[in-house]
Point group: C2
Chain length 169, copies 2
DNA sequence: ATGTGCATGTAACTGGTTACATGATTCG
DNA sequence: CGAATCATGTAACCAGTTACATGCACAT
């Protein structure tokens, strides 16, 4: 993809992972080139300015794999979605491990929220209770989603062929 | 509260809003003092190091109100939770407005996710589809939560007295 | 005694944003 | 014909983290 393309994809997930500026994206791409993790190919087009199409190298794939596999101690939503987005590069087993890891983290997080909710006595700060309640709702929704996906993945580890109209995912 | 107290509260919501380091928290507190938005009171304690208890000033309250009221163009989860956490400082009507604003933003966001989901054809990138699906699930959960809260707030704008065992929020 | 939690701070570094700069194309 | 979108980049600035520095209290 080109830098612009990457920006567009990231933008579509802006709610989850934010939307990096070109001022950080292009330098990052240049750094990848410098480190041999990616290559560029300048594609001239009719009546259009040429685009710079970046491709990942073997070294890049290796580094990516390493990044994906390193355990995320912090339960950062952003990092999780980024990894999810790159799930292709994971083996099916790796994906399951990733989801399970996330599940454990969210469950732990929910426990701390519930703990905080319990210690916060009735009369207290409405705002804090609202925020806590919100967090719990989101955590529960995420756990439900993770369980659904994990269930689906364990039942049919690799959907051999696409059945028209099934829309699994 | 003291800087340490603030850190603890923020930490309990780390999943939602992250957990700022002391290296940013203390300087921020000093800046508030400098700008007259807060005051400190040093409270010496028996057998313990003194704590610096910060209090908001009228000017600070004003600035906070301004911050809360300014429309959040970016649907940042972090900013939303922060505002939620400070809902006390809002009038009940302000809180409702805030929730409604958020509802509109999340709905818009869900629409863009659905759009992206539709354009992403079947065979495409599993990772991207997973991330999109995840985003949709979270968005739907949040919308449901917002609707529930908005419903509750419109029915009893201000619960006059606490009824034991009700646990509304 | 040693480590963990309380409690406060500073300085170097880093990663990111904002603003700037350029230029072609497409749409109303 | 001007505005928006495509498309790429650089430089100044800023907000935050990491690492460092200090010291007391409490539990194992």
């Amino acid at each position: 993809m080109s830098g612009y393309d990457i920006k567009r994809v990231l933008k579509s997930l802006a709610w989850l992972i934010g939307d990096p500026s070109f001022g950080s994206l292009y330098p990052a791409l240049h750094a990848l080139l410098r480190d041999g993790l990616a290559t560029v190919e300048v594609r001239p087009r009719q009546d259009k300015p040429p685009r710079k199409v970046y491709s990942i190298t073997d070294a890049g794939r290796e580094a990516l794999q390493e990044w994906i596999n390193q355990p995320t101690s912090n339960a950062s939503l952003k990092a999780f979605v980024m990894r999810l987005n790159l799930a292709d590069s994971l083996s099916p087993a790796g994906l399951v491990a990733h989801l399970k890891q996330r599940r454990a983290q969210v469950a732990a997080h929910r426990a701390t929220l519930e703990q905080a909710d319990r210690t916060l006595n009735e009369g207290d700060d409405l705002g804090q209770r609202l925020a806590l309640n919100y967090g719990l709702a989101l955590a529960n929704a995420e756990l439900a989603w993770l369980d659904r996906k994990l269930d689906g993945l364990s039942q049919q580890p690799r959907p051999a062929k696409h059945v028209p109209g099934s829309r699994t995912i």
